[in-house]
Symmetry: C2
Subunit: 144 residues, 2 copies
DNA sequence: TATTGTTATACTCTATAACTATA
DNA sequence: TATAGTTATAGAGTATAACAATA
């Protein structure tokens, strides 16, 4: 089975999938302790790194979700007071999404924990020189 | 934001997540053309590489899903005639899950396409020497 | 008593399509 | 006409807890 890949290639593929799964599982579990899903965390993180607000459509494209799916998740976050919708001065159809003070505060708690987890599970297990190799090659994989 | 990771470390983390997401998205889309979810494909693949049958509990642990979730997915596959439940000779509570002829046939179609996709998106984009580095390091990440 | 597996149930999430309002 | 976003709706998948049967 999987005969067209050499043993080494197969092992590399399994390692990539296993590492990705493991990391994702650990992140999901950690976020659950803050009552956040990964999509919700991604929304908060995007808003946190954007200086000003973000439109719904733009955010939906960035997160690779549908507009209606994003409306649902933003609704969840808004109900918890973590994000707020503001009118767009240039386009009356559009909405600018912002973090509230509460959202910023939560993100300020979650992000360090997230970073620590990534360091523990990924960065610290990879040699510095190898890290650059992994980065460059996987960036190619991510490319269209 | 994400201040505790250097730019290079952050880039490596993003590359890993992006590569994993990209690969998963492509695989999911390809499997949809066979009307299979990833979990269902994993079930078929596990059964395909196991010589004899597999118990439900053992399979649930391997796939990191609950027993009831597995019962649901196996039910879907069984309804399509791709897998079959057989009694366990040694334990009257247990079930041995097997591929049917139809399941083997479908897997024989899906697996080469899967391998080709993995080759196109991953193996062919990574230098052979780098592949070994990626394999060894990511295997460490996957470890408990 | 513990374990194998199923069932009943409820819930979360996602997408499709139709819709409103504005460009 | 096209675009931004929401809503209504339905479907797929997952987990929890209770259950039956056997070890």
């Amino acid at each position: 089975m999987v005969a067209d890949l050499s043993a080494g290639e197969l092992a590399a593929y399994f390692a990539l999938r296993a590492a990705g799964d493991r990391l994702q599982r650990a992140v999901t579990q950690q976020l659950r302790s803050y009552d956040l899903t990964e999509v919700q965390f991604s929304i908060l993180a995007q808003l946190g790194s954007a200086g000003d607000g973000i439109g719904m459509g733009q955010l939906a494209r960035a997160l690779v979700v549908t507009k209606s799916g994003l409306t649902y998740q933003v609704g969840q976050l808004e109900a918890r007071g973590l994000v707020a919708r503001h009118p767009d001065a240039n386009d009356d159809r559009a909405v600018q999404l912002h973090l509230t003070a509460g959202g910023k505060k939560l993100l300020a708690h979650v992000m360090p924990a997230h970073v620590a987890l990534v360091r523990e599970l990924f960065i610290d297990r990879v040699g510095p020189a190898d890290l650059a190799i992994i980065r460059d090659n996987l960036a190619q994989v991510a490319q269209d």
